[in-house]
Amino acid sequence: MDVIDQLGSLKEGKLSRRKFTTSLMAAGIGVMTTPLATRKAGAAAADQGTFFTWGGYDIPELFAPYKEKHGELPNFAVFGGAEEALTKMLGGYVVDVSHPCNSGIPRWIASGLFQPIDTSRLSNWADVMPELYDLKGNIVDGKPYLAPFDWGQTSITYRTDMFEVEGEESWDMLWDERYKGRLGSLASGGDAWWCGAIKAGVPLTEIDTPDAFEKIAAVMRAQRPLIRLYTDDTTTLEQALASGELVAAMTWNSSAALLQADGVPVRFAKPKEGALTWVCGLMIHKDAPNLDLAYDIIDSLLSVESGKFMISDYGYGHSNIKAFDGFDDETLQGLGLSKTPADILAGGHFQIPQSQQWETKMNTLFEEIKSGF
């Protein structure tokens, strides 16, 4: 079939109906098959593993080894809180790797949605600090479910030029009446409630008592009128701190590190009562459609390159001991980190895993408080 010829005959009105139908069909088949052709050529992202993670971890810097091996980044799905992620997966969402934290480990394992990790398949496992995976409930029958990746603190990031610290840095800063309407907080009870416990002086081992609930709720209720914004979106908090809309907010290490890198005068407080410390890591879904890629995602995150980026750009601790080699003690101390994480973890308040009933009760109550009741 000659296209020019057909166009010519069409112009002259000589194209027969049959010929016209034939060309229509050819065009139709062409259109239908085009997507198939490009799909093959582009080595579609559907062939990559899926990483279900917190916002901010969906960046190429953490996946250099993965990209080298597979030519592309994994697929990302982002959540704002680990509870939200777990409910989504309980609702049938299947991913390859997800990113819970230590306080969730027993409940995540109990959900039956995850499989133990075969550490022999991870080339970087030998360098992972044992105290980070030897967490309560993590090792079942000698196999860990969570491969630790990052650790850090929940504390206060404040504007050194706008917030006047009275005496020592402390959690009282987020309860300071002078800055009413200029304070921000993380919205997830997984952080805020625990920080409330520290402020209320409740030992974290006793957080599941009626007395503790009462004390923490009172503290959170007192704080609520002072707070301009509760959000799980750290970018929103960072922007508000950068513009001066907020003068202090509850954040993780990364917010302070990113703002300092931008030249905003902020400090990540070391509250005298102690900060909240946590370890987060990676779990493989039991029905992971790309199990090999799942191990590659984990291995890439545990690599020294990723670790250096985590420490230098985000200010988080990493689980690979070799990642710390390029940093001197002073830098690490400035970031609130150490080569022996046990010091930091023991020095702060380490979250303790709770039952699902506790989580539901706590979240229900905290939502009521945030709404003003």
Partner: protein, 309 residues
């Protein structure tokens, strides 16, 4: 299976069967109507009735850890009645979306009126121009308002540059008014179009007759145009009120602690709080309240329409 393996059906009976079915269809208009509707009915049943059924059943369950206790109980509804947060958030949501609906309808009516009565050429282009902002995503429009209302946003910067205020106005963002403003803008197209259609349909000779009989512009508007365009106003109001009451994106991004709506709480029940039966019960309570308000609104509007026309 049986069709391919068994003996072929007798041609004659097959024919008779179809013709009998055909005759039945010919005779009953209702049957013909339902046949035509069947694809839609099927989608309605699968896509709406079944989920609502599940929601109703689930609202009588209780959450136990990750699973459900499926013994029927009204505990969720009792809790919704007893704890003040649920009623207060529901009232706040209805109030906020009521305000948003009123603002939208009042602001959109002149636009629809203008296009219907004062644009004579290229009407289609006007309609397209009016709906043009709505070709961008809803989320982007909400974010755009965040930029406009923000601490260093357009309004605050402008006022500060003019020297009218010293420090940025903080109530603009993260407040109920921010949510109402955004909803009123985001849903404007849904108000303009139905009101435009009902204004456009008004017979112009009625207006001429009113003028001939001595009505001034205001009396003419109140006695002819407004009553005849009420169906458009009612449908616009419902079209905005019903979806905005359950909205949760706008209050999440712009509401702040005081601007949260019931939709946010329902979303949390299915997310962080992990109490799906409670979320189901709240959804049903929300649906029933919206239904009750919509029905009474329609009754009142009909009554008013009969009185003034």
């Amino acid at each position: 299976m049986s069709i391919t393996n068994g003996p072929m059906p007798d041609d004659a009976t097959g024919l008779r069967k179809t013709s009998r079915l055909g005759a039945l269809l010919q005779r009953s208009e209702a049957a013909r109507g339902f046949t035509l509707l069947s694809p839609t009915l099927f989608i309605m049943a699968v896509g709406i009735l079944v989920p609502i059924g599940i929601l109703v059943v689930m609202s009588f369950w209780t959450q136990v850890g990750f699973g459900f206790d499926t013994t029927a109980t009204t505990a969720n509804y009792q809790m919704a009645a007893e704890r003040p947060i649920y009623g207060a958030l529901l009232r706040r949501s209805l109030w906020m979306s009521g305000m948003a609906t009123m603002a939208t309808v009042i602001l959109s009516y002149p636009m629809a009126y203008f296009v219907a009565f004062h644009v004579h050429r290229n009407k289609m282009m006007w309609i397209v121009l009016i709906t043009l902002p709505f070709w961008t995503s809803y989320l982007l429009r909400v974010f755009a308002w965040k930029v406009v209302l923000g601490y260093h946003g357009v309004i605050n910067s402008a006022l500060m540059n003019l020297g009218l205020i010293e420090a940025p106005l903080e109530f603009l963002l993260y407040s109920q008014s921010a949510v109402v403003i955004t909803l009123a803008h985001a849903w404007a197209a849904f108000a303009i179009l139905p009101m435009y259609v009902s204004l456009e349909k008004i017979d112009k000779s009625l207006l001429e007759a009113a003028t001939d009989l001595g009505d001034g512009p205001i009396a003419r508007f109140l006695r002819i145009t407004l009553p005849l365009s009420l169906p458009g106003v009612i449908s616009a109001s419902l079209l905005i009120f019903i979806p905005t009451t359950g909205d949760y994106i706008t209050p999440t991004l712009l509401g702040g602690p005081d601007g949260a709506m019931i939709g946010n709480l329902i979303q949390k029940q299915f997310g962080a709080i992990n109490n799906w039966p409670m979320g189901a019960a709240l959804s049903i309570i929300l649906m029933l309240s919206i239904g009750a308000i919509a029905v009474s609104f329609m009754l009142i509007a009909n009554f008013v329409r009969k009185r003034i026309s």
